[in-house]
């Protein structure tokens, strides 16, 4: 009789303590869930960049754990994707990853958005994720460029692209942009640029006029496209190192039918002058035997003699000498050099332009012919 009275009481006590035991068991199981890996793409954000944060968890316990909700939140870092709201079970020894899309419209700094994992039966897991925002773009510098560009002449411009960031950037491309500018190659693809590394690229730039040449460096930080630009003003003018033919030791002589100009041509520039040809310009009419004088290549500080023959239009006292040469790219350069020619009065006069002795001599000839005729007649008459 007594046992029957005690049994319901014991049952009531058992029912009273059984849920508490189950809850304690779930909390022990949830405690075995931990974050094993956090991956950020990009590893370091730039201001305004979007990216992903992937959190991997593992259940190291012997029992499965029911997860009710996984989310990421922060006051400043904006989480673009929704939270994982579906109840799911993480089996014993299993792993699970949660990926969140975030954006960082924040100033440069280090932020800690919190990954939160709510268990259905046992509280939650909080895990701050370290997220760096670095406002440091790629650096672009001009390594070498000519002091002065020459119209139509190809010049080499070297660009250095450096990555001062703490993460690698991908898809790095360099290309020049400018009005009237022809570039070879049109763009350089560098690809992945590791942190604290740099890469040189060279372009052959041919300007058509004075302009501003821009070198654009496009790259990706994660999925975010970025562009850096460096401006190089191009002043088309006379190159400081280009070949510079100058004439010296000039001498003009009149030979009766044409002038002969002789002299030396010297390359006073710092680059070779190729295909040097000397001829006469407007106002002078080249004549054989030296209508033109081809010299060929003149190295810097080298010189060569030349000779051209010509006549002049009218009473000119100066005629232009035209020197043409080409650079290594085949661009033609023309230099005009005025040369004084002797005035007409100093030339030896041709027959007929001054008082010729011919009339006197003709008189002598006629007289001689008459006398000789007379002598011949006389000699035969005397016979």
């Amino acid at each position: 009789m007594t046992v029957y009275r005690v049994f319901p009481f014991l049952l009531a006590v058992l029912l009273l303590f059984l849920p508490a035991a189950a809850a304690e068991q779930s909390q022990v199981a949830a405690a075995q869930v931990m974050v094993t890996n956090v991956t950020l793409n990009p590893q370091v954000f730039m201001v305004g960049d979007s990216g992903t944060i992937t959190v991997e968890i593992i259940n190291n316990g012997a029992q499965s754990v029911a997860i009710r909700r996984a989310t990421l939140y922060d006051e400043k870092i904006r989480v673009e994707s929704r939270a994982y709201e579906t109840t799911m079970y993480l089996g014993a020894g299993n792993r699970m990853t949660f990926t969140f899309t975030v954006s960082a419209p924040v100033p440069e700094g280090i932020y800690y958005p919190v990954f939160s994992l709510d268990f259905r039966d046992a509280g939650y897991l909080r895990y701050p994720v370290k997220l760096r925002v670095q406002d440091q773009p790629l650096t672009v510098a001009v390594l070498s460029r000519p002091d002065t560009f020459t119209d139509g002449k190809k010049e080499k411009v070297e660009i250095l692209v450096g990555n001062p960031r703490d993460n690698a950037v991908s898809g790095v491309t360099v290309y020049p942009v400018g009005e009237g500018i022809d570039a070879t190659p049109t763009r350089h693809f560098i690809g992945l640029l590791a942190p604290d590394k740099s890469q040189n690229v060279a372009f052959q730039i041919t300007p058509g006029k004075s302009a501003v040449l821009e070198f654009h460096v496009d790259y990706y930080n994660g999925i975010n496209p970025h562009t850096e630009t460096i401006r190089v003003p191009i002043d088309v003018g006379k190159s400081k190192v280009q070949a510079e033919p100058i004439l010296s030791n000039l001498r003009v002589e009149w030979s009766g039918t044409y002038y002969t100009l002789t002299g030396d041509v010297t390359n006073a520039g710092l680059e070779p002058a190729n295909a040097v040809v000397i001829t006469m310009g407007q106002g002078a009419v080249p004549q054989d035997p030296y209508r033109q004088y081809a010299i060929g290549t003149l190295q810097p500080d080298d010189f060569s003699g030349f000779e051209v023959t010509f006549t002049v239009d009218g009473d000119r006292t100066s005629v232009p000498v035209v020197i043409t040469h080409k650079d290594a790219d085949g661009n033609l350069y023309t230099t005009t050099y005025p040369v004084d020619i002797p005035a007409k009065g100093t030339r030896k006069p041709a027959a007929g332009t001054e008082e010729s002795p011919l009339p006197v001599i003709a008189g002598v000839i006629v007289a001689c012919a008459a006398v000789i005729g007379g002598i011949v007649w006389y000699s035969w008459r005397k016979r």
């Binding site: 002789t262 035997p289 030896k348 027959a351 002795p357 001689c368 000789i372």
Partner: protein, 229 residues
């Protein structure tokens, strides 16, 4: 002196005086020598032009002087050979089929005597040259290694108007005084080769005519006869 006057104005009387005498070559050689010296002096004077032509080529005056000496020697020998020996030979050869009799030394002597007018013509021509020389424009040769350039320069100098005018004057003097010489040579051939007047005229006028035609042809072909009077 009378002999000289007879030679120039009455050659018949001059050669009649020599009739029966052995022909001496001394005086004819002297006459030819004087003519040769005048031609040589004229050629040397022309060398001044060549000196200027080659001066710019860095050869200095040596090249011009060398050419002048060579030209003078050529003109001297050329005059002796062409105007005396060759002409006498031509007269002698032409007179052979015309039944000419007499030694070649006689022909040489007669030809030498007949050169006196041509020597006078040479002297006149040389004086004329002195008046033309300053007026002749000389082209400049800078590269004596190129024969084409030298040839072109010499051709250009020959085509200079003053030079062409002098060439014409010189040719006319030569022809006129050659006619006078031919007149003396006719009487000389009659004496030296025992020819009648007709055959003597043929003997002289055929070679002289050819020579005159050659001179005129050379002139009209714009050439230049360096050995001329």
């Amino acid at each position: 002196m009378n002999h000289v006057a007879d030679l120039l104005f009455a050659p018949a009387r001059f050669f009649s005086a020599l009739e029966g005498k052995e022909p001496g070559l001394g005086i004819p050689a002297l006459i030819a020598g004087i003519g040769a010296v005048i031609s040589a002096l004229a050629a040397y004077a022309i060398s001044d032009l060549y000196a200027g032509m080659f001066a710019a080529a860095g050869t200095g005056m040596d090249m011009g002087m060398f050419m002048g000496l060579m030209g003078a020697a050529g003109a001297f020998i050329g005059f002796i050979l062409l105007w005396w020996i060759v002409l006498a030979g031509a007269f002698h050869v032409v007179s052979v089929p015309l039944r000419g009799k007499g030694s070649f030394s006689g022909t040489l002597a007669a030809t030498g005597y007949g050169l006196v007018p041509s020597v006078i013509g040479s002297a006149l021509s040389a004086v004329t040259l002195l008046s033309y020389l300053p007026r002749i424009t000389v082209p400049v040769i800078r590269n004596i290694q190129d024969p084409a350039v030298i040839q072109a320069a010499i051709t250009e100098m020959m085509q200079d108007p003053a030079m062409q005018e002098y060439t014409m004057v010189s040719t006319v003097f030569t022809v006129i005084f050659l006619v006078w010489s031919a007149n003396i040579w006719i009487f000389g051939m009659k004496w030296a080769r025992k020819l009648d007047t007709r055959n003597a005229c043929i003997t002289v006028l055929v070679p002289v005519g050819i020579f005159i035609i050659y001179l005129l042809a050379t002139f009209f072909a714009k050439g230049f006869f360096m050995g001329g009077s």
